[in-house]
């Protein structure tokens, strides 16, 4: 009996997970199922699908076979039980909170997050009655102090955008466990190649697929991964999962779907009703991108470390924030959580302040001046004159976007060319 089953390695999963040959045609590449809808086998089959009694496809807002390949692949890479791909990283965050919170509830979020997430939590989420309480990942006690009876979740980034900050996932997971709430980790900057938050106690992992997973700057997308670890029924605090759902004639999702019920709740309640579905074409591009994720992340990390080391020796540069540098404040955490490398993103402080930042982004020829990270191409932005322009100088500095700060996302070009471009740009 062939009962010894190998657990495939990360590189193998990146290529094969979710992507068996197409059952209908034998196509080996994942077909782009560019369809809005799917014919039912018969009336009974249709009823079973709508009642969640059978597995299958109904309508692409709820599920699509190309998107499903992407979902299974990311679930496998993160070590989760299931995943749900959606239209953007921000949409993923909406669906996660929609499944966990009811109006008037709170969630605790790290102050060290992507600026767009800070905006989303401070403004849009408040209008849904989902109240963010901020805590500082440099002070784990601030998470403990933020817990109240209304707390339903804790949200952090593994490596935070933009500053090269590594979060102590395990310590915050302990706070979440004690509070009886799930830990949600945005793993966009690290990707599962560098760090698997589920290994450190994350209950849900989210990504902006737009960045390193897609990897080529060609598609917006997001994903929610269910770790299968959280008991949604224990304290009866999560009615989407532990109460009979009127939308589905009284089904209790946690009881019915067990350790992948959260991903199902995000799909059949969140995605179905709020609607941010991913295009199958984007799913195809992103799933194809993931096939080379290990190679790209290795090169991104090697190039970024070389650039960080080079920049920290330059007379024009006041400081470099990159956890791969031995002198960095987060180096010890990086050795624990991202031992294979620290990814592509860093911030750099220029001695010449605002004007030097503007000059550098204007002078570069290989780096693209744009608001994104995680492309094969090297990218640069001066937050003070763009994404954070509306803030006061004090607010800018607090957000890690002071007038002297430039953010780099190092690509996978030849590192000598990347450094040469920065050298001529700094002059």
């Amino acid at each position: 009996m062939a009962d010894v089953e190998r657990t495939p390695g990360f590189n193998t999963l990146a290529i094969h997970a979710g992507a068996k040959p197409d059952p209908a045609t034998g196509a080996r590449a994942t077909p782009i199922y560019q369809t809005a809808s799917y014919v039912f086998d018969d009336v009974e089959h249709a009823a079973s699908l709508f009642g969640l009694q059978a597995f299958g496809n109904i309508y692409t807002r709820i599920g699509n076979p190309t998107c499903a390949v992407l979902e299974e692949r990311v679930a496998a890479l993160e070590g989760g039980t299931a995943a749900l791909a959606v239209a953007s990283g921000h949409a993923a965050q909406v669906l996660v909170m929609h499944a966990m919170l009811t109006p008037g509830d709170e969630f605790i979020a790290s102050t060290k997050l992507y600026g767009g997430s800070i905006n989303q939590f401070n403004h849009s989420f408040k209008s849904f009655g989902w109240n963010v309480v901020w805590a500082d990942p440099d002070d784990i006690g601030s998470f403990e102090r933020a817990v109240t009876p209304k707390t339903k979740a804790i949200f952090i980034e593994s490596i935070a955008n933009p500053g090269g900050i590594v979060t102590d996932i395990e310590a915050i997971a302990q706070v979440a466990r004690k509070a009886g709430v799930p830990l949600v980790v945005d793993n966009t900057l690290a990707t599962p190649y560098l760090c698997k938050p589920i290994d450190y106690g994350a209950d849900v992992v989210v990504h902006s697929l737009t960045k390193f997973l897609g990897g080529h700057g060609n598609s917006i997308g997001g994903i929610i991964v269910d770790a299968g670890t959280f008991n949604w029924s224990r304290d009866r605090k999560y009615p989407m999962l532990c109460e009979p759902r009127p939308e589905y004639s009284g089904i209790v999702l946690h009881e019915t779907f067990g350790n992948f019920a959260f991903a199902i709740a995000c799909r059949v309640l969140g995605l179905r009703d709020l609607g941010p579905a991913l295009s199958p074409f984007n799913a195809f591009l992103i799933a194809t991108g993931i096939e080379t994720l290990p190679l790209r992340m290795q090169r991104h990390s090697e190039n970024a470390l070389a650039v960080a080391q080079w920049l920290s020796q330059r007379p024009e540069v006041a400081w470099v924030s990159y956890p791969g540098l031995a002198s960095d404040k987060y180096h010890a955490l990086a050795q624990k959580y991202v031992p294979k490398g620290c990814g592509a993103v860093m911030t750099v402080g220029l001695k010449g302040g605002y004007d030097a930042g503007v000059k550098l982004v204007s002078n570069v020829k290989l780096f693209s001046h744009l608001a994104n990270i995680g492309d094969t191409k090297s990218l640069i932005i001066h937050p003070a004159s763009t994404t954070h322009k509306q803030l006061s100088d004090e607010q800018k500095t607090k957000a890690g976007a002071g007038p002297d700060v430039v953010r780099l996302s190092i690509g996978i070009e030849d590192v000598a060319d990347i450094i040469a471009d920065l050298e001529q740009g700094l002059k």
């Binding site: 979710g18 068996k20 599920g63 299974e72 679930a75 089904i251 067990g258």
Partner: protein, 188 residues
């Protein structure tokens, strides 16, 4: 027979069970259409498996054309597998009832969330295969790749295409698990 720890099961063990079982008795069956037992009942009926509901509170009724029995002993035909939808503390009497059947069932299956090691040991001592804390519908979906359509990590990789069952394009078969199954087309 391989020694199982019942924390995890080899895929071939589960596939072997689901491929051989033709008649399932479901103890603790609920005719309520939003209960998990009803889901599993309907799913296997649609795949041509004979599924016999067992629940003394509903004995004599018919659900989807299947007669409900009060007890395993009342079922007038051989049973391949007993699928138990009862809390762990109520599992032992069910297993004892199953052990009194002639012929013996081949498999005792306890649903997702249900585990009773003592009852499992008793059944195994009688040569019966045991699965605990799993759902046969989810396992069928996982091993047939059907469940991949809803983003679930099937934990299976293959360079062979999955088998489409006759009678529809959205129904898949389990295959033998050795990767040599032809992807058979459905007959419409």
């Amino acid at each position: 027979m391989i020694k199982l720890n019942h924390d995890s099961y080899p895929d071939n063990y589960i596939r072997g069970i689901l491929n051989t079982v033709k008649t399932i008795a479901m103890v603790g069956f609920s005719p309520n259409t939003s209960r998990p037992s009803y889901f599993v009942f309907k799913y296997f009926l649609e795949r041509g498996t004979r599924v016999i509901p067992v629940n003394p509170g509903h004995a004599g009724k018919e659900v989807l054309g299947q007669k409900v029995y009060a007890h395993l002993a009342d079922i007038p035909e051989p049973i391949d597998m007993v699928d138990i939808f009862r809390a762990p503390e109520h599992v032992m009497p069910v297993v004892e009832e199953a052990l009194a059947l002639k012929p013996l069932p081949m498999v005792i299956w306890m649903q997702l969330g249900i585990r009773n090691n003592e009852a499992a040991a008793l059944a195994e001592a009688a040569g019966i295969k045991v699965v605990m804390n799993r759902c046969p519908k989810i396992e069928y979906g996982r091993l047939s790749s059907e469940i991949s359509w809803i983003g679930v990590n099937s934990r299976t990789l293959s360079s062979k295409r999955a088998q489409i069952l006759p009678g529809g394009v959205q129904r898949m078969g389990l295959g033998s698990g050795n990767g040599n199954d032809k992807g058979k087309e459905g007959d419409g």
